[in-house]
Subunit: 272 residues, 2 copies
DNA sequence: TGCTCACATATCATCGATTATTCGTCAATC
DNA sequence: GATTGACGAATAATCGATGATATGTGAGCA
């Protein structure tokens, strides 16, 4: 039970700064902070209850990622270390370590002696993300359909159900955030059955990058006139029915349409 | 004047520790250090004379990557920070930052409060690497053949020529190292024409991971009875001739055969 | 007016010391 | 005799301070 004491002390130390206000922007431009209440994120699959995120650096990775994907940290903006240090109430070492890890996600870019900055967005970047998702996510799905277990089927249906039950109300931003989280989990669960860690990791990165575009440009009109829920449902049904060709075709269309949609919105944002 | 003094001091500081002995093993096990004389590496393409690697952390990334891919740092072994700090003559901050960046390469794994370790090797990991290389490297090649410029064609032929001119003499380890560098560059150049940064980055990661297996298990008998040089030549010729289907088929076979070869050697190492 | 160079300032990079956590060991207990 | 809990050594994580680099500014000159 001495251990309990020690642990509790740590938890307090770590928990204390969290409830404070959501991070204000670090970059020089933009100061209107969207008061998003930092959802108690149902983080990436594979995270056991007590295993991860005990250190400053690891928590920072999540906080920074969320801040970037949500658009609170403007694309392309410089990350001033001193201000970020204050904002997140940490020291330089864990901050730099967290940023270094985020390079892997493609959300942060770095240059020697010039520091870190939020990865920029561009039409070509979006096009590549879409194209690669079509290829690798479909590849993963095909493999998942081939070797996925019954448990995997169950996971897929559960993820689908949870996502579709969320009522997306623009007046309640937290419902949008929640849907984003479930949507991400749905796509990851769909392919998780393939049991190829490197591939899943890469798909997760692409999904993150894609989500940043959607959350920035399609915040309230996610599907346009599409019935996204139906698309998801069909893909899931075909997948658990082990109809590989049709499931993959539908997933590919789904990704492609989303990409086209985003492309249009982004072009509208950049051009005028 | 003052500035000149400052700069000179810095350069000396950075240059000084480099020529010292090659890094001895950091991990607890294994103490017989292969006295590989740390080739003055013809580093990754795209490195201008003065652009990158000015900081301790960035230099460390390269040194550590080389140490891991070459096998000097044993797969799966724990990386003791204090010993690594001494060995590489740096402080903890840049060391941790460098290790954090190497997570992206899949060469290092991390766990909160348990530190960093060299990524383990396994048959399933090798199988996935091979499978993914077949898919994504071929995808990249097809795109490169579709849109690659004449400059790209030239780059491919040059890379092929340089690689094939190296005489691989097991008695002269530096020739093996040199060939590895050129070989890596050949494969990357072959697909560089596709102009998809994310895809190229992923291919580079896979190539690195693959090279670790080859350099560990196929150090002196790279091709078995295969004529690897001829395989490379044919792929290059087909690529610049814009024969996409044949080039991709050959590349896929090439990757697959290499994988099978490695699988056999690795199985022989793990089993008995 | 436009350019170059020195200086001041802001920022990034690194270090050494301090704090927190884990892991091995051993004694106490059931 | 096995399990549990407490200690101490080893190691990881964090911090505050210092050193190095880049960037902005203005004087001097063509």
């Amino acid at each position: 039970m001495t251990e309990a004491t020690t642990r509790r002390a740590t938890r307090d130390r770590l928990a204390a700064p969290a409830p404070t206000a959501p991070e204000a922007p670090i970059h020089e431009t933009s100061m209107a902070e969207t008061p998003v209440p930092m959802t108690p994120i149902p983080m990436a699959p594979g995270a056991l209850v007590g295993d991860g995120k005990n250190t400053m650096a690891s928590q920072l990775v999540d906080r920074l990622r969320e801040a970037i994907v949500s658009g609170r940290l403007e694309a392309g903006s410089k990350i001033n270390l001193e201000r970020a240090r204050e904002r997140f109430s940490v020291s330089l070492s864990p901050l730099r370590e967290a940023l270094a890890r985020l390079i892997a996600d493609g959300l942060v870019v770095f240059e020697d002696n010039r520091g870190y900055r939020v990865a920029p967005v561009s039409l070509s970047n979006l096009a590549e993300i879409t194209r690669l998702r079509e290829e690798v996510e479909v590849l993963a799905l095909r493999q998942a359909i081939a070797i996925g277990t019954v448990d995997w089927e169950g996971d897929v249906m559960r993820a689908l159900h949870r996502m579709n039950r969320i009522e997306r109300d623009p007046a309640q931003p937290e419902t949008l955030e929640q849907w984003e989280a479930y949507h991400r989990e749905f796509h990851l669960t769909l392919i998780a059955g393939c049991r190829m860690p490197l591939l899943l990791n890469f798909c997760g990165v692409l999904l993150n990058l894609n989500d940043r575009y959607r959350r920035t440009f399609l915040r309230r009109t996610p599907g346009g006139d599409r019935n996204v829920a139906q698309e998801h449902g069909e893909i899931a049904q075909l997948a658990v029915a082990r109809d590989a060709d049709d499931a993959c075709a539908r997933l590919r269309e789904h990704i492609h349409r989303t990409g086209t949609n985003l492309q249009r919105h982004l072009a509208g944002t950049l051009a005028p």
